[in-house]
């Protein structure tokens, strides 16, 4: 299905053969299953190039015990625990209610075994969903998630299994909780990933000193928001070194809260940029960021967003592809 957008065509980007009306992507776990924000007056999914649905597993999950979120300096910690009704109900009850003329909808797949990742992906393959994002970076579940994502071999195995299950664009969402994200990206690329999303949240903790207990029911959680932006930028830059020559796009994310932030990620090598936590503070932020990107295009006399991607000019010799010596 085509998206009928009223946005300036200079904002549109090609993402794995899908046309995104703007590089802005609403991030998984922040917008439910795509419709919650649409009842805010002035908000429209059409302001986003794509919307990632909440992480979905094979069976329904209740998620973690409260408290699930808490504010921290420059961000927040969450440990939702992948609360979702299970892939079959998402496909049967939720997808039919989404308006695919508004934007692209991306499924976000999680599992506690390679078989589960395969099976959920396979079921989404047989649905109207536009693309599939494999979340091997969720820090808030006991099995799978980040446990897979921090292990290069396991990451590649998950990607290879999902690749067998679908021909739709396959996005691998990488964890920042590992030493060599570029090596992981390389392995996932070889296993069949069409694109990357980075970064997912960083593992963190908040403590209530009166109770001497973690604030979060799950004890630990994932840190998001402006606090993680510098880390995210470097990771995107490192992944881009791996992807550049393969034409593999990245959805850069982590703390983006303004057009300037979004532009930094594009310059670092992202083809699209994700907005999550910032939406909680300003639900109407998409309009403002889209406008800021357009202003930048004007100011720098650029024809489209793709011209910004990877336009970073480094000081001196370029950084190694990852933080380690082996690269």
């Amino acid at each position: 299905m085509t998206v009928d957008s009223n946005l300036d065509p200079r904002l549109s980007v090609d993402f794995c053969g899908l046309n995104f009306a703007t590089p802005l992507v609403l991030l998984s776990g922040c917008v439910g299953f795509g419709e919650e924000y649409t009842r805010i007056h002035g908000f429209s999914n059409r302001q986003a190039g794509a919307v990632c649905l909440k992480g979905t597993t094979l069976s329904p999950r209740l998620g973690n015990a409260p408290h699930r979120i808490c504010e921290t300096p420059g961000g927040m910690i969450n440990a939702i625990g992948l609360q979702n009704p299970g892939v079959d109900r998402v496909i049967r009850d939720i997808l039919p209610t989404l308006d695919f003329s508004e934007t692209r909808f991306i499924a976000n797949v999680s599992g506690s075994s390679i078989e589960e990742y395969y099976e959920v992906t396979r079921r989404f393959d047989d649905s109207p969903i536009d693309a599939i994002e494999i979340n091997i970076s969720c820090p808030n579940v006991k099995e799978g998630g980040v446990a897979f994502g921090n292990d290069v071999r396991m990451s590649a195995q998950v990607v290879a299994a999902c690749r067998r299950a679908t021909r739709k664009p396959l996005i691998t969402k990488l964890s920042p909780n590992q030493t060599d994200i570029a090596a992981n990206a390389r392995a996932c690329l070889e296993a069949g990933a069409d694109a990357f999303a980075a970064i997912n949240t960083l593992m963190g903790m908040a403590i209530d000193i009166e109770q001497r207990m973690p604030v979060i029911g799950n004890n630990q959680g994932g840190l998001s928001g402006p606090a993680i932006k510098p880390i995210a930028l470097l990771k995107v830059h490192q992944i881009y070194q791996v992807c550049r020559d393969h034409g593999i796009p990245i959805i850069g994310q982590g703390g983006i809260a303004s057009a300037v932030d979004a532009l930094e990620f594009l310059i670092a090598g992202a083809s699209a940029v994700g907005i999550g936590t910032a939406l909680f503070y300003d639900p109407l932020i998409l309009t403002q960021i889209n406008q800021g990107i357009l202003d930048y295009l004007d100011r720098h006399d650029l024809a489209n967003v793709a011209q910004i991607t990877g336009s970073l000019c480094l000081h001196g010799p370029s950084l190694p592809a990852c933080g380690c010596e082996s690269a």
Binding site: G29, C30, V31, G32, F33, G34, E35, E36, Y37, R39, I40, H41, G42, K54, P60, L62, G63, A65, P66, H67, R68, I69, C70, E71, T72, G74, G75, M76, N78, I80, Q83, N84, P85, R89, V90, D93, I94, T97, G225, P226, T277, L279, F280, Y281, D282, P283, L284
Partner: protein, 345 residues
């Protein structure tokens, strides 16, 4: 999203709040401090004021330096004058920064959010119990009850026999015929108000208003317990205050003890007309839910939880509830904040 999809998201069969939400750049009209770090904030917020209902809240930016908004219950909404009023206690960083905001300052607000309280004409004797920061929604509910003239069926079955329509407002549930159904000051003559609410408020810090002796006699309550909230008295709604701090005229004990002593004086017919509404700290709500169960009364409670989005997007604010299908996680922001007490406790 359809109700069916909501169910799917929550594996529940209970609706969630689906009306349009407004992001407004509100202006601080007044901001008053009370002892115990309590503040009364009035915001110019026309869209929210027009739509807000008791039990709902707004999600506001306390300070641009903070990454998240804060949910705060509404205490009043005046659609004609386009303002909303919030009573809050400065307990954390957000509310402490909010306390610094001055008249003329701008505050972004999303609202009105959440499932409101549901009143039922067949239960015309609402018992409203508010504790601490749980007082505001009870005041809002009382305000709307007084403004709801009559019911389709006319007089409530629980009206004191022989009382004229105009007197029903002041009639307290359980009052003997002719005992003291005083007509409320400011009530338009002949106006039928079907509801006969009783409000019980509790606080362990000084009440954020000057308590005064109530003009209403409430049979069944200890005669020495006479302190009331003036605003409610002005509205013609009987109220009583409870505290462990020994404030004059207040009941020395828990709100639930005072409520129990009153419920015990009601006969079966009167009890059948009572519905309980409560907001306050979790232990208080648990006690209210137990009280309601003892008297076999329907009970709605308004809950609080940390919130990120405040609009149903993140599932960060859940409470575990019981459903026929087993336990489920419901979002306090849009599936609540008001829940049937039996689902929660």
């Amino acid at each position: 999203m359809s109700a069916g999809v909501e169910d799917a998201m929550n594996a529940m069969n209970h609706g969630s709040y689906r009306d349009t939400l407004f992001v407004e750049e509100t202006e601080v009209l007044s901001h008053e401090a009370f002892p115990g770090d309590q503040y009364l904030l009035r915001l110019w917020s026309p869209e929210c004021a027009r739509r807000a209902r008791p039990g709902q809240f707004v999600h506001i930016t306390c300070d641009p330096a903070l990454p998240l908004r804060r949910p705060l219950s509404l205490m009043r909404a005046n659609p004609r004058e386009s303002w909303i009023e919030i009573l809050y206690k400065a307990v954390g960083e957000g509310t402490r920064l909010l306390a610094r905001r001055k008249p003329g300052d701008r505050i972004s607000s999303i609202g009105p959010i959440g499932q409101p309280f549901q009143v039922h004409p067949e239960r015309p004797r609402p018992l409203l119990i508010g504790g601490g920061v749980g007082m505001p929604p009870m005041v809002f509910l009382a305000d709307r009850l007084r403004q709801t003239p009559g019911m389709p069926s006319g007089m409530p079955s629980g009206a004191a026999p022989g009382s004229a329509p105009g007197e029903v407002l002041g009639t307290v549930p359980g009052s003997a015929p002719g005992a003291a159904p005083s007509t409320a000051p400011g009530t338009a003559p002949g106006r039928v108000t079907a509801w006969s609410p009783l409000v019980i408020l509790g606080s362990e810090v000084p009440f954020p208003f000057r308590a005064q002796p109530s003009q209403f006699i409430v049979p069944g309550l200890p005669p020495a317990v006479i302190a009331a909230m003036p605003l409610l008295d002005d509205w013609g709604i009987p109220s009583r205050l409870a505290s462990l701090q020994g404030y004059p005229g207040c009941f020395q004990g828990y709100v639930t003890d005072l409520a129990r002593s009153w419920l015990q004086t009601l006969d079966a017919a009167a009890l059948a007309e009572v519905e309980v509404f409560a907001c306050g700290p979790h232990p208080m709500l648990a006690a209210v839910a137990a009280l309601a169960r003892d008297f076999d009364l329907p009970c709605q409670v308004s809950l609080e939880e940390f919130m990120a989005c405040g609009v149903g997007g993140c599932a960060g604010c859940v409470v575990e509830v019981k459903t026929p299908e087993g336990p489920a996680m419901k979002r306090v922001c849009v599936d609540g904040p008001v829940f049937d007490a039996r689902m929660v406790f």
